[in-house]
């Protein structure tokens, strides 16, 4: 037998043996068929367009959704998208992994818990960025965090906690709301129906498991999980007995979007459109007109966010900063930094990166000394608002709740975020950053300050934090009896205070009367204000009866004010007006009745004013500012907190200073690391080259008074105080202000220096040439021959 034949025999024998062994090992039943259905797409097949997504929707239990059935459940991304795109892998992506991922060196925008009433602007981050508090350490459970910030969360992460965590906090209502799974549609939905506002509203209503369905436009979701009892479960279905208040969340799917097999057409894109990113990542100057807002130069050139901020199935987005490749191990990230794309350089300056992606131009940087590239990041000159225009107050989607539209105004002015503040980043390069000053109540614990929850502050503060509410309640009460064109107001300190639709108090400056005049209550009609209680003689025979009718209406209205300290009454000269048994009682004021004439509350034999001196003083002091607390309020609340928990000293942080009660009970301010501003690098918007710093020459930055070095930032915060911190731009960079001023001034004679150097170079060069030519002529013997 030939060797080939022997080999074939061995092979056949081996195969036979294998079959016999397998047959002997089999437990006597047929082998399981391969699982049917789509395979997970972890490897790209090379096709450059994405397939049409006409899919059967599945709920969180994996059951097929039939839109025409009674009480269909919301679609589940885990069950609907998961069969093809591994859900657990996606869940580990940058947008979802904050609670579980290793801390990232490069800070990003923290979540800012803002509570104007307690003066809280608390920076939070699971990623342990400098200056931020871990939400758990700050007393926030995943549930609290989701309700606070879910409006700008894309699902997953804290909004989709583990079962263990979900059950760990009894106050959480995950069993009612469900979890907000990773919302694939938030980014990948190309449909114009994708509605971020709807997502925010559903989150606010605690309709977490329904939010993606409603926001994606798959159907209409009614009801509010927040109004349901904590014992309700989605398996209980609708409540037939309550169609008005505790209405169970329910979906009416858009049946027209389903085919006959109950499959839904998703209009998806692999690369999300910019609008989807901007739903959560918009940044715009405060008070700027929409038409005046500039776009990023990359967007203007036709690039999308996702062209640079790329990711694979793992959704670990390229953030695009230098050093990312070394930090994450993703070497491709090197070519998506400014330097990588435009210069083909790594963070270390090696020319090993493929430049020019997507047609990125090569910058010429004519006349820019090398030290700038060593010490500054590209974004210093190219990104954010020009510092030549001073610091810019901006609002961001996540901090200022932008992009949520409805009957109520969601967007807020607070917190005050400013940019660009130039500061050294983790690579010791100066980088433009956004800045916010933290403000919170805290308890001193060793060297640390542990934030006190706003609810605990409110509970301890009692009435100290409610002057606006109390005055607004009085004015709102009076609006019941005023005409449509009339508005009850409080006039104090040159301001007019009127109630607003949010049951708060608006202050408007008022010209004319002496601001030092005592506060008074009035009725605004048009441009004029008349006194709430006109001066008249109650004893006069010819008094206008309409006046007393009006007083009766006022008294009846004041009788509805919640939390009123006593019976409403009006003292005119020596006559007291009040309501007795539903009728206007006009009587002579008791001789021992203390108090000023006008409206008030009868409390323990005296006529107390409608608003206390403290209330009026507090709202007047803060009028016309963004401040929500006075030093008097802070001192009072700190006292209350110290009394409520005497085992630790309490402090308040605002405007870059730490405030605490001194031994004599007065408020003292001092520096503290905890009060330092929180900053994070900004990269967008990138300005065109002609708007970059340095285009106008060295003096764009190097002058005796440039904003780049010498702009001053004053600590902003809810507290009205003169003790706020103030810093120069140079101080943030870690540079000496005196030197920079001197260096800047040296640019004044620099043109002269250049001229002198040029003349010197010309003269020396000419003489060297002459001497050299002469020597050459001598050596060659030409000059001797002459």
């Amino acid at each position: 037998m030939s060797p080939a034949g022997r080999t074939s025999l061995r092979a056949v024998g081996g195969a036979l043996l294998a079959v016999l062994v397998l047959a002997a090992a089999a437990p006597g039943q047929p082998p399981e068929p391969a699982p049917a259905g789509p395979q997970k797409q972890s490897v790209w097949d090379g096709h450059r367009s994405i397939p049409v997504h006409i899919l059967p929707l599945r709920d969180e239990n994996g059951e097929l959704i039939v839109p025409t059935e009674a009480y269909p459940l919301p679609y589940s991304a885990r069950q609907t998208c998961g069969p093809c795109h591994d859900y657990e892998t996606i869940r580990g992506g940058w947008h979802f992994n904050a609670p579980t991922a290793a801390p990232s060196v490069r800070p990003g925008e923290p979540w800012l818990e803002v509570d104007p009433k307690t003066g809280t602007v608390l920076p939070l981050s699971h990623r342990k960025w400098p200056g931020t508090f871990d939400p758990e350490a700050a007393g926030l459970t995943a549930w609290d965090f989701t309700l606070l910030f879910g409006r700008h969360l894309p699902g997953g992460g804290p909004a989709e906690p583990s079962e263990e965590e979900a059950w760990a906090h009894p106050g959480a209502r995950w069993n009612v709301s469900g979890k907000a799974e990773v919302n694939c549609l938030a980014c990948h939905n190309r449909s114009g129906r994708q509605d971020h506002s709807e997502w925010a509203k559903q989150v606010l209503r605690e309709n977490l498991r329904w939010a993606a369905t409603a926001a994606g436009g798959l159907g209409e979701v009614g009801g509010m999980a927040s109004r349901l009892k904590e014992t309700w479960s989605v398996h209980d279905g609708p409540n037939p007995d309550d169609h008005e208040w505790a209405v169970v969340p329910e979906i009416a799917y858009r049946a027209a979007a389903f085919d006959s097999k109950h499959r839904y057409f998703f209009d998806l894109t692999g690369k999300p459109a910019d609008d989807r990113c901007l739903d959560c990542h918009s940044v715009s100057p405060k008070d700027a007109a929409r038409w005046s807002a500039e776009a990023d130069v990359h967007a203007a050139a036709g690039l999308r966010c996702s062209d640079c901020h790329r990711n694979g199935l793992d959704h670990l987005m390229v953030r695009g900063y230098e050093g990312e490749a070394a930090e994450t191990g993703n070497r491709t990230a090197e070519s998506f930094t400014c330097r990588g794309c435009h210069l083909g350089e790594t963070a270390a300056g090696k020319k090993t990166v493929l430049p020019g992606r997507l047609g990125a131009p090569y910058p010429r940087h004519k006349g820019i000394p090398l030290v700038h590239f060593k010490r500054l990041s590209c974004t210093v000159c190219h990104s954010g608002p020009k510092p030549a225009e001073g610091f810019t107050r901006v609002r961001t989607s996540r901090a200022n709740r932008l992009g949520v539209y409805g009957a109520a105004a969601w967007a807020t002015d607070a917190p005050a975020i400013i940019e660009p503040v130039f500061k050294k980043d983790e690579r010791h390069k100066i980088t433009p950053q956004r800045l916010v000053w933290p403000a919170f109540w805290g308890r001193v614990k060793g060297k640390d300050i542990v934030p006190v929850r706003p609810a605990d502050v409110l509970a301890a503060a009692g009435e100290v934090l409610g002057p606006e509410d109390r005055i607004a309640q009085v004015l709102i009460g009076l609006t019941q009896v005023t005409a449509e064109d009339e508005m009850p107001v409080l006039v104090s300190g040159g301001f007019t205070f009127a109630p607003n639709v949010d049951l708060g108090l608006d202050a408007a400056p008022r010209e004319g009367p002496d601001p030092r005049a005592p506060a008074s209550w009035g009725i605004r009609k048009g441009d004029g204000i008349v006194a709430l209680v006109p001066d008249f003689d109650p004893a006069a025979e010819d008094k206008d009866p309409a006046v007393e009718t009006r007083l009766q209406e006022f008294l009846e209205a004041l009788g509805t004010v919640p939390g009123r300290p006593g019976q409403p009454a009006i003292l005119v000269r020596k006559t007291l007006y009040r309501i007795v048994d539903g009728f206007l009682d006009v009587s002579e004021a008791p001789a021992d009745l203390a108090g000023s004439p006008g409206p008030g509350w009868l409390v323990e034999g005296r006529l107390a004013p409608l608003a206390s001196d403290f209330d009026i003083r507090t709202v007047t002091d803060k009028a016309g500012t963004e401040r929500t607390l006075t030093e008097e309020q802070v001192a009072a609340v700190l006292g209350s907190l110290n009394r409520a928990r005497p085992d630790g000293d309490h402090v308040y942080i605002s405007g870059g200073r730490l405030f605490r009660l001194g031994r004599n009970g007065t408020l003292t301010a001092r520096k503290s690391d905890a009060a330092d501003p929180v900053t994070w690098p900004l990269a967008h918007n990138v300005r065109p080259a002609q708007q970059s710093l340095g285009w106008g020459g060295c003096k764009d930055c190097h002058s005796g008074g440039s904003d780049f070095f010498f702009g001053r930032i004053r600590g902003a915060g809810p507290l009205l105080t003169d003790a706020a911190a103030e810093r120069s731009a140079a101080a943030f960079m870690g540079l000496g202000g005196i030197f920079q001023r001197f260096f800047g001034l040296s640019f004044i004679p620099r043109p002269l220096l250049k001229a002198v150097l040029a003349v010197c170079a010309f003269v020396i060069g000419a003489l060297l040439v002459v001497a050299g030519l002469a020597a050459l002529g001598r050596v060659a013997g030409f000059l001797e021959k002459r």
Partner: protein, 227 residues
């Protein structure tokens, strides 16, 4: 790093060469043997001894008296101030530049940098005046050369200390010109980043060339053999 290594090697080599020249021209034992190893041994022994002697003698007072003994103080007022400005600015430029260039990773910065720029301007002006009004003192009149293999013979090149000093002067002038140009051009809106990098390196190596030329010139001027 490369610049630091090159600088240290070149400056040390120049110093040793100048010391060898002095040893060779002033010490009889230098010619007592033909063995290079023996010469080197004696040279280093002499150098160590001389270094020890000089360090023992060194004191602020001794330095001051040496400075006061320089001929510069006996020059006419204009020349005196020209030389003070020239030597002073060059010494500051060299000291600040090499100290920061060799020992501070960040390079020259802060007030020393501002001083460097100001001293640079002064140096350029002084150098120009010196070349313009004193350059003629350093012009030699070479003989016409004949084409022969003797051109390649070092012994027939006429490498006398006086000629080396003249060459050192013109080398210094050339280095000065390069220093001025490499300082001026980066301040103008002409050069892109590679050009800026080139000028930065040119400035540093020109400074090294200037320092070597100055060392040779000063060494031969101050410690040159009477012959």
């Amino acid at each position: 790093m490369l610049f630091a290594i090159v600088s240290i090697l070149v400056l040390a080599g120049t110093f040793l060469a100048l010391a060898l020249h002095r040893f060779w021209t002033t010490r009889e034992e230098a010619r007592s043997t033909l063995l290079y190893a023996e010469i080197a041994k004696m040279y280093f022994a002499w150098l160590a001894l001389r270094g020890l002697q000089m360090s023992r003698r060194a004191s602020p007072r001794a330095w001051w008296s040496s400075v006061r003994g320089l001929p510069i103080w006996r020059e006419p007022v204009l020349e005196k101030w020209l030389d003070i400005c020239f030597y002073g600015s060059f010494l500051y430029l060299a000291a600040s530049g090499f100290f920061f260039g060799l020992f501070i990773p960040r390079g020259l910065f802060g007030f020393p940098l501002v001083g460097h720029v100001m001293a640079g301007g002064l140096f350029a002006v002084c150098l120009t005046i010196i070349v313009l009004f004193k350059g003629r003192d350093f012009v030699t009149v070479p003989k016409p050369a004949s084409l022969s293999l003797s051109l390649l013979d070092p012994r027939k090149m006429g490498l006398t200390p006086a000629r080396v000093k003249l060459w050192a002067f013109w080398l210094f002038v050339l280095a000065g010109l390069l220093l001025i140009v490499s300082a001026l051009l980066p301040m103008m809106p002409f050069l892109q980043t590679p050009g800026q990098k080139l000028m930065f390196e040119l400035h540093r190596y020109s400074a090294l060339l200037a320092a070597v030329a100055a060392m040779v010139f000063a060494g031969l001027e101050l410690f040159g053999s009477p012959a």
